[in-house]
Subunit: 340 residues, 4 copies
């Protein structure tokens, strides 16, 4: 049995503020006692808004506070692995936004630090906590569609991020598809062993000039024989498109997009329904709450988090394999990715 | 066992031509040997188009032809009961378009003639042969929704007929709702004992000036306790709206409209699907074929037709009860309709 | 401009606790400072759970606290009108659960007290704040379906309440249909002038023995000429069924039920989708938050609440008219209900 | 202007009989005067059933009949190219079932004979005439989804053919995917230049022992930059699964499966809808009629058929490229297929 968990938040940008709100108002088991941000006023503003007693510029205020049992890492990606190591060194449990890092060696060092410290680490693949995808996984795992044969994931953003972001994003496969790679593993409960990518620049030439692509189809081969596709676009004018389908020997399960309401208008021109929820904040708000609740409960009850460090590492390997496949126009086995 | 049935068609207007086409091309068991129409050129044109050997102005050419075993009555409504009597007198089996007549005494005389002659009579309530409604009836009869409690019928035309037609139509309840009255009995397998109508003129004031209404909600009470509503409009701008729902102790069954295709477009404005099929010819073409096939088979195999003379009579009584309810703004029992 | 609103909660049963949770965690503009319940431990438990400083048995602790600006009345129905009068006398703004009372004279006295005191009163017709119904109203008001002609409301509960509750509920029309009466007025923006009821006992004979019905179809005539139906059942085995449809000169708008997820399974037997959310707590949780938020904002910004005392009174009159219609099997005008 | 077209049918197996029925009863512009089949009784039975004056074992009875203007080739695949050459030599217009041949040199010789003779040739890719797919093509061509970016085709059969058939089928890519290859070209209006296949044996090991696969994902790259996937299975337990989706800069269009009716049952377990139509005969009956109608009209009106010999040839090349891609596990350009 256990009491409330004292939590510190590192990084108060968009996603950090989202977690702060949930920790403050939606998760009674958590006690958000400190927030830090490299921009002090950002930390202070967040602290004021959500009633957080301490707001600091230096994250060490959190790391060195013996009352804090868990940290939420929402700082910029290039600091994630270092923050994990520091937190592990301080004996704190860790929730870290994805990706852990773009460098596999740094990921491995961070995971080793976590293991050595014996603390818990959960990675922010929030979509696993969405009721739709969770239900698909349950149905597949329960054998409702027999043995799975084919996986189809459609994952399209409503609009590309700014070009400046694209340039430091690690590329579409490490920035956007990484979520779908996690989803693929989650739904099929098997590891991917080979990927093949067909991709292009169709949305914005500036994305191509930045060395990236904006539209892609990724073929997956799983160890258990399942084959799958993911299709990505940086720009679906109708909004955030997040669908999956698993087909198997006993049938098929599909999920559709969420809409703000179900109002359908019939008029002289056609039958008109509502667009999907616009983007990830709207679409996945409940899954952000659920993942944080799950993390806090794992800390309270001393259980292994549902998205581990290894779950954070593998999609990065998949992202590198996808990039290599695109560059060399051939299927690439995950084992080919240099993980030394 | 039996051979092809020789058939004569009386009346070659829109619905007559539809039946002619089906008898000629879609129902190999029938042999359409003669057509008549009070406008000779109409009969001749129909005959030429569908390869009918004999085309005449006088329907007696059909009645007096001893080779003709069955007649299809598609002449104007005011001639239906007389044609039935003549055909019965000539010993021919009869398919007659709805309604048999607006006058209950004439209906009864026609039905008596049919009974006396021992010929078969089927009334053209084609919707019973639609796969959607047939399926609903089967599911209800099979107990898939338990004991039925509530029936809902939505029946809206895409556009009102010409005012000249409205004036001789017998009014919306005898012209349009009559199909829904038949559907109600068909789906619930019980008789209606009382109706209540709320109605108004909302589509076109000229319909009101002609003494009719164009929008109505009819409440039904069935002998077995089920309660139901029908809602009618003479003008649904999105096309022919034909839906039913039956709710019961074990669940609910619903059917939706048919569309020409299932193409759904997502664009920046919304999600856009196809409109329902425009009107009864498009919507119910298969049911017209099926009803005629059923009639020919009943003649061939000496079975009772699936829509009897009584099935043609009762909806007329319901239409009069509905009109009375509208005029007096009170629930009216079917027994109140003067059937002497 | 204004600061946080100090709020007191009277009655900490199921619905009271729901509001307490929302006021405590979801509505930062409110400050829930006291709770009372005639069972002291119930008040204390609620206070402990949601961090409410004061918990008392006697509601006068709230009424007499000069720091409390607004009260939330969630005590039993028979106390509502008295609580409203007391709160108005104490100069406090009032949110009161529906219905205000079953006695129209007491309602009128309560509304008069509110008017005299110049305080705000909002009635808890939460469904108005549901995104589906709100959207339908907006689309109708914006003329997207032209002039409305026909309204259809389906409102079916998953299971009847205990017979002991049925006996004191005021009957289905005042207990259950009252929400649909409010919805009808809300969607059509016109007053109902006449109702007709067809109803029966189909779910449970014990409900009939208690003098009530469990299944009903209510026909509505609005002042603006629109006609409508509501169909109710106390027991839909597939869950809470809450749909509306408005049909008009320019088209139709419909909404469908909400489901916990959108997972659809195709197997050898059929295509299987999820059931609707089970009951009102699951289905309408967001609307409960939204209605309370709206109330607090109206107090803060000195605006008229979106559901007024008159909005609370009229559905009670409609309920009485419906009961009279059922008893006398005839359409009843609202003016016939004795409101003296 | 023109009169009826005299037609001869070669091959009276399942698909031949289907065309015979349509030519006899559904296409008044055609006059089916002769049928041949290498099994004489098969030809005679077909002739008797559909009223065809001449029934023969030797197809030359058709080829040498100067009154016959057009032939319908439904004999076994290995005879198609020879029949085309003979018919072209006899100056007859040709409708030929797919595929023309598995041998590209023989295809080329047949197409050369057609060109030399100046006769019309239409290949039986019937799905182009399905209202769903036709509508998608129209919407894409009309720019309703902007520039196309991604194509997705799902094409799954309800059950595999007998192993004996599999062995002579040419393999899944030439037997089953060939239809999807045609659909891909039809919807995108651009040629495919490269394919990549991930496939396996998941349905039945006997299919693998016969040297074939039963489950596949094919990635397509089009000349115009579009990328696409096709997923195939030989066994979808829920029935024939035929869906497409085209995504572009301005939106997305999708079509869903056809069902025998739209009856949806809600019960205590879930919401249950009807399965898709079982297989191609049920699903595509209207498209078979439409393609034959189109062919007859092209002959009558001296227009180029909508599915040409080249349209018949290219999917065979795609099938060989797909097989090579599967065998070598790498993307294969169509130019690599040896067409000498």
């Amino acid at each position: 049995m256990s009491g409330k968990i004292n939590v510190g938040l590192i990084g108060a940008g968009r996603i950090g503020r989202l977690h702060a709100e949930h920790l403050a108002f939606r998760i009674p088991e958590a006690n958000l006692v400190a927030v830090s941000d490299i921009i002090l006023t950002t930390a202070q503003k967040c602290g004021a808004e959500f009633g957080i007693p301490t707001a600091a510029q230096d994250h060490r205020v959190i790391m060195e506070n013996p009352d804090i049992e868990a940290v939420i890492i929402c700082s910029s990606t290039d600091t994630h692995s270092r923050m994990i190591e520091e937190a592990a060194g301080a004996g704190k449990h860790i929730f870290c936004e994805k990706p852990i890092d773009f460098n596999l060696a740094r990921i491995d060092r961070a995971l080793a630090a976590v293991e050595k410290a014996g603390v818990k680490l959960q990675i922010g693949f929030n979509r696993r906590f969405d009721p739709n995808f969770r239900r698909v996984r349950e149905l597949v795992a329960a054998g409702k569609i027999g043995e799975p044969h084919i996986l189809r994931i459609t994952s399209r953003d409503p609009a590309p991020p700014p070009i400046e972001y694209i340039k430091v994003s690690g590329g579409i496969f490490l920035d956007m598809t990484i979520h779908d790679f996690d989803m693929a593993r989650y739904l099929i409960s098997s590891e991917v062993e080979e990927v093949y990518v067909a991709a292009g620049v169709m949305v914005d030439p500036a994305i191509g000039e930045a060395g990236d692509v904006d539209t892609a189809i990724i073929t997956l081969r799983f160890e258990n024989g399942v084959i799958g596709t993911i299709d990505n676009s940086r720009r679906a004018v109708y909004g955030y498109d997040q669908r999956v389908e698993v087909f198997g020997s006993g049938g098929m399960v599909t999920v559709s997009n969420k809409t703000p309401d179900s109002a359908v208008v019939n008029d002289g021109q056609g039958v008109h329904g509502p667009l999907p929820l616009y983007f990830f904040i709207e679409r996945y708000v409940d899954s952000y709450i659920a993942e944080m609740k799950a993390f806090i409960e794992c800390v309270q009850q001393d259980r292994t988090p549902p998205v581990t460090g290894v779950d954070g590492r593998i999609p990065v390997v998949m992202g590198y394999a996808a990039r290599k496949s695109y560059e060399e126009n051939r299927p690439v086995r995950l084992g080919e990715v240099d993980t030394a």
